[in-house]
Amino acid sequence: MKPEEWKRVEELYHSALEVSNSERDFFLERACGEDRGLLEEVKSLLQGEATPHSVLDAPAVSALAKAIAAVELQPDTSGLEGRTVSHYRILKAIGRGGMGVVYQAEDLKLRRSVALKFLPESLAGDQQALKRFEREAQAASALNHPNICTVYEIDEVEGIHFIAIEFLEGETLRERIARRPLPTEEVLRYAIEICDGLETAHTAGIIHRDIKPANIFLTSRGSAKILDFGVAKRITPGMAQEPIDVSQLLTATIDPALTRSGTAVGTIAYMSPEQAGERELGTLTDIFSLGAVLYESTTGRLPFTGERVAEVLDAIQKRSPVPIETLNPRVPAELIRIIGKAMQKPCPARYQSASEMKADLETLRERLQGGNRAWKLWSIPLLVLVLLAGIFLASLRVPRFREAVFGRSGGNDIKSIAVLPLDNLTGDPAQQYFVNGMTGVLTTNLTKVGSLRVLSRESAEQIRNLQKPLREVAQQLGLDAILEGSVTRAGNRVRISAQLVDVNRDQNVWAQEYDRDLQDVLQLQSEVAWDVVKQIQVHLTPQEKERLTRFGRCQPNAHDLYLQGMYYWYKASPEAYAKSLDYFNQAVVADSSCAEAYSGLGNYYVIEGDEGLMKPGEAWPKSRDAYLKATELDPDLGEAYAGLASFDLLYAWNWSEAERNVKRAIELNPGDAGAHREYSGILRTLGRFDEAVAESRQAREQSPLSVSLIASLGWTYFYAHRWDEAIAQFRQALERDSQFLGAHEGLVKCYQQKGLEKEAIQELETELRIADDSELGQAFRDTYNRNGYAAALRMLYSARLEQYRSASREMYVSPLILADLCALLNEKEEAFRWLEKAYEERSSKLTDLKIDPDFDNLRSDPRFGALVKRIGLP
């Protein structure tokens, strides 16, 4: 082009810009006349004016810097692969998040896969970016839920900041939807799970704020997990929410260097009206977004679309989405209603909580799974499809058919479980009480589930002592799964790692690490149990669900004191009991509203009263008061009701109240062996021996390795006059512990009832040997050899009577013991005198008076019948 021509182009160009758009063509036509070349030239240049954005509009240095920023925000992945950071060996890049690359890595300590999310090195010095990074870790780690991707830890090694999160296999919902719309059954399953996760987050005061398909992960195991709490926000009561600045999003969307096309738009599409309108956000924003996600899942289309961001935002606030039924006629009407309710524009019209939405989804799922009625909800095309499938699958059993139609329901057939004592990784033996306490509470929490058989704590403790392969033991005990793990405690942090092993399949089903502030230990305990229950997908009643997720409100220091008390209580020695009392008292002082602490106190006084170590009139009322206080503070504390039942039975002699309380205890913790044993004791007192045996058997089944529960079944058989079965149980108890005195004593009595003198003598000798009473043992043997069986027994009873009499000068001795020995010696007057005393002070075991053969010598005396009547024994 010649300079003159160029000059003409320039003049015309600027002149044309002076005229309005509508007149411009006319102006140029006239100005250029015949010169079509000039006209085309100017016209084509003017199109540049209409180009709103060009790389030229910002300095090159800025564009390049943004390009660098974009690259560094998505850093090169090859550098980290194969490296070891902290105790993680980085394997490979598996994805990209908003803040960088995510790697699969191996946790070298725990030998498990984790996902590592790195803060790009270039951002490490940036406080704002670091804050966001930490916020994600904090928000998510405050939540432990099977449907929320678990954050294990956030750490910094040599300036590299990273978050270790649960490694998930599967794909995001975004990828899943991209393949094809999801079947209703699948939508329902993950929608319910997401609701569950959201409910937990919301309850913890955390709003996700960015629920979208890319943030929902569907694991290959078939469960859904909420990802990326990077923009989550904690609700601060009384404080206005900081809304996401939509104008910033707009900038981001048109900023090509920072945002890959669609990223920000993708987020916008699931925004709630209040988010789009930059208004204050509450938990209901997540409900709306979930509704939008479900809309897309069922239809494959976004509910709100537009050419530009502003249009999408406008649609969210004003327009109704295309009705789902017109896009996919297979979607059940009820699901359409649920999605519609979640996506109501005014908040008050929406579901008011995730749990409310979940309840509707669950009802729908049950209806769909629940047989014929469900078919009505399915529209004809799918019905035809199903019927066709039915023809092909006709030869298969119904469950398989269901599985084929609806997909596997995910059950892994775990019906029984044992919680092995958690390992103490604190490195401090003094922390054992805490570790044991964690094991104990975890076990108790699991016993809340009726359809799950939970091996008692006592039995679980024995498993490792058996020195047999775990799998073998588990199979012997009829266990499907084993939960093991460890506890570490450092300062105010407590870390529990738990691992669930499917015994039948010999594989790890699940592993999780929980890192919490000690303040949250109560919540942590119930969360772990909840997670386990979720993993094994056992059936839960709504009440069980509620109880599982509820936890006590003890002050952490009081709870800690309670755990120390229980530690000594379980040690079951007089000195240990004294210590436990001390701790329980301290716990009550530390927090007078700590239910467990009162329950612990109750437990202490039961032992004192039941074992005849303290006067019943002193011990039992204290135990009752403590238990009553405990149930008042926590009406769902099962063990306290079991304790009250003990009081009712052994001291108050109020059988109906005893039965009522024990039933409540069993209802609250169906898997608690102790409660079943308690019930068995009540039933035998009432003479309902068959029921007593059934309860005792159940307790024994829950605690097959517990010597005391095996012996307890022996005693139940004994009182039911089923001598041989009793003998079998006592022998089994002795197989486990040959020194267990109670079982030897049981055998002696059984043999005596059966007239097996030799065996009885032998057992008595063993008993004396174990009790380390060699002098008495020798005398007994001599008497037997010289004067025979009856004389030897008399000699023994006399000696014991003398022992107790002299002891009674120093300490409290239950008059019932003295009455028992006198009865055996056939010293009726003395026996009745002591019995009267026992009646006066309500000796604990007096309730067995009617069924205990020790008192057979007294039965014919009218005073005996009268006493039985006065006690009120049926």
């Binding site: 390049l64 390009a67 998505q74």
Partner: protein, 201 residues
Amino acid sequence: MDSTGEQAAPVQQHDVTRLLRAWGGGDEQALEQLMPLVYRELHRLAHRYMAREPMGQTLQTTALVNEVYLRLIDVKKIDWQDRAHFYALCARLMRRILVDFARSRSYQKRGAGVAHLQLDEAMAMSAMIGSEIVAIDDALRRLAALDPRKSQVIELRFFGGLTVEETAAALKISPETVMRDWRLARSWLIRELNPEAAHET
């Protein structure tokens, strides 16, 4: 604020001024010494962008770029008469270095010197910016043949990052003329870069 940069700047400013003079005087060696300094500023600027959340705040581009220059050159210490010359020199320098840099990113063949800035294949957007800058450089050569002043306006503003007033001062023309030149040159370049679809974004 990056504390290391704050401390290093005064020393560097002196160096940059000296090196820039040397390079202006034809010393190509000086360019090699200037390059890492400019890269450093480029990265610092990049970090400033990264510091914003991905959905971040509106970036005060002009302010940030000005900061780059203030770091590189202590303008106040340069004679008023000299300043125009310096602006021009600076813009030329930036053009040279940035285009080299963009080219290395686009083709990845010369990326060795900036190894830690390896191009991520997925970041097509970055690559696009790189190739656009290279294309602008090429087109600018053609524009210089047609209208040297307009080419200079682009060089000063786009590569040099100068404001309209600074550009005007450097070229000794009025700001209005700078605006007029800029407008036409911009349209011309857009058409050159995308001849078939100049109307598209």
